[in-house]
Symmetry: C2
Subunit: 360 residues, 2 copies
């Protein structure tokens, strides 16, 4: 929705490096070990660079600082492997932030995939992992396909239901190409992520049809004011049964199974609002399936086919998942990352409050 986009006049451009060093400094003041601060900052800056501001410094660092302050997240988790086999590991994250634990779990998955073809790691007692595709993309430079799923607190109304039961439960998949930008899928199984509703509320903008349900669970298929804060009635992808909402609902269920129940840490709805998110990351070693060069060549051909599809009236071109994000990353690396001036003020104030070095 264009109405939710950041307006250039409200923004200040920051260099990647300045934003990164400021973020590292803030994480250090939360009691997070140095290497973990760099890792955490990389996840958030990558989200900002790819235009996924909802999961970057701009939108989520403030929440994480609150988590650390309220002791909802453990800055020095002693995470450990509970079960392990050649293709599988099951981790207890000891309440560590997902943006720090998930990349480590993905490294384990990659090592296992190198050895046996597939590596899959589940994470219980986890916390928010920001942009799921960050973790999936870690597989790319190893010539692997990566996947990441996370089971969140309930925001989604099941088809025919009147109460939230499943999270926004995103799925991310990243697959390498040769000359083309990699395929990077990253999407909630609700029509929209919850933060878009929050954003619309803050900006006083109406929601389009098909995003949320009424108080009694009836899908709202007209423009509507955003519901009050704390009211979570997002519709599954598909919006209504006649347009396939049971498919979005079912996919959220798949995510709750793989990255909730199978972790041994329960599912989104039984975490009792404790900000627990459980996860699952997978790496698939392409060369165990086929020749890597042929895979990448075919990916190029396929991605080229998708992006050169004849557009429908009113559209300039057809995109594929990961293409606009890759273009955005190039632009922001060159011209800086645009941040809303309120975000910059918050960063400065937070650095001042915690006596952290400030580069913004």
């Amino acid at each position: 929705m264009d109405a939710l986009k950041l307006k250039e006049k409200d923004t200040i451009r920051m260099t990647e490096s300045n934003l990164r060093e400021t973020t590292v400094a803030i994480f250090e003041k939360m009691g997070v070990p140095k290497d973990d601060c760099r890792l955490a900052a990389d996840v958030l800056i990558t989200a900002d660079l790819r235009g996924v501001a909802s999961h970057g410094v701009s939108n989520i660092l403030q929440r994480y600082v609150g988590f650390y302050k309220d002791k909802l997240v453990n800055p020095t988790p002693e995470w450990k492997i509970l079960r392990e086999s050649p293709a599988v590991a099951s981790i207890n994250a000891d309440g560590g932030l997902g943006i720090i634990i998930a990349p480590k779990a993905m490294q384990i998955a990659i090592e296992k995939a190198r050895n046996v073809g597939v590596g899959m790691v589940t994470i219980q007692n986890g916390r928010h992992l920001s942009m799921a595709s960050y973790h999936a993309m870690l597989a790319l430079k190893h010539d692997m396909i990566g996947m990441c799923m996370t089971s969140t607190m309930p925001f989604m109304i099941p088809t025919f239901g009147a109460e939230p039961r499943l999270g926004t439960n995103p799925i991310a998949v990243a697959a390498p190409a040769d000359r083309e930008a990699p395929f990077v899928y990253d999407a909630a199984t609700t029509v929209v992520a919850n933060n878009k509703v929050t954003l619309a509320r803050r900006m006083g903008v109406k929601l389009p049809p098909g995003w949320v349900a009424d108080a009694d669970g009836t899908p709202i298929m007209r423009e509507v004011d955003p519901p009050a804060p704390g009211v979570d009635r997002l519709l599954p992808l598909g919006s209504i049964k006649e347009m396939g909402s049971h498919k979005g609902y079912g996919l959220a269920g798949v995510v709750d199974i793989f990255s909730g129940i199978l972790t041994g840490g329960g599912y989104g709805a039984n975490n009792g609002g404790k900000h627990v998110c459980n996860h699952c990351v997978v790496a698939y070693n392409i060369e165990t399936f086929m020749d890597v060069a042929e895979f990448k060549r075919t990916m190029d051909e396929w991605l080229m086919m998708l992006k050169t599809t004849k557009p429908a009236p009113g559209h300039d071109r057809v995109l594929y998942p990961g293409l606009p994000e890759s273009e955005c990353e190039k632009e922001y690396k060159a011209k800086g990352i645009p941040l809303h001036h309120e975000v910059v003020e918050w960063l400065r104030k937070t650095c001042s409050d915690y006596k952290a070095a400030c580069y913004v």
Copy 2:
């Protein structure tokens, strides 16, 4: 859509066993080896029993007989493993029907999952595999989670596009519970499977909003007559960008990668209408992640939570994927499978044409 449902007055009830023996007899006359005939019949009968008539004897056997007659499918494929590692195998199906090759691939995946935790098998040069969840469900009795994806010929218009580029590309996931019916997800990544459009055309029924695009690619958000036969412009799950169609489009892409490109056999759109469908099956061995009894107990609790969700007005209850199919299976096993009288006539004529034993 209720208008597309079979009407009791048009149907004849068949016992599972009579329908199965008739189906076996027809496959035998196609030159398929005896054991493979039983396997093929089991896939189709299971679909009919679970109320998925679109993928059962009633709707698809006629197509398969045509395939064998036109030599588009190999009745005696010499399928072979091209690459193998502890968690992975890549198979060339030698043009064998997916309903026969995919269960064999799944057995390999299950064996690998038993050994190393996860087993994943890709299948190139495959053909139609009917109800994808049949293959995923094979994992259940081994206390494993099963997955199956298949990359089909292009029917789906990408978001913003005007030409079909991706298949209906279904995803199926089956996970076991203890007392509750298993979770069985099985859905195309388009709003509806193509056969629903075909069925609506045959029955002279209009399509609801959000199913198909106009000739220029514009999504049709009003009731509309089904397009002419051979015109494939299905919308991705989500229907329009504002309601998340890029998510359905992207998921179809994920399926094209895993069960198309990664098989080494190409993707749906480059198979040139040759009725090639490539596949991917995966088995996840629950005990390598966590205690199996605890997994099933948690599944029961979670499924119970979903099905006891307070319903929205106009609905009796909330379902979960696999629940209505399981209820249908119980009913049809007891009372027989309802077949449209035209299907029964076709079965009798086909048996007569091919001199096959007929039990219907």
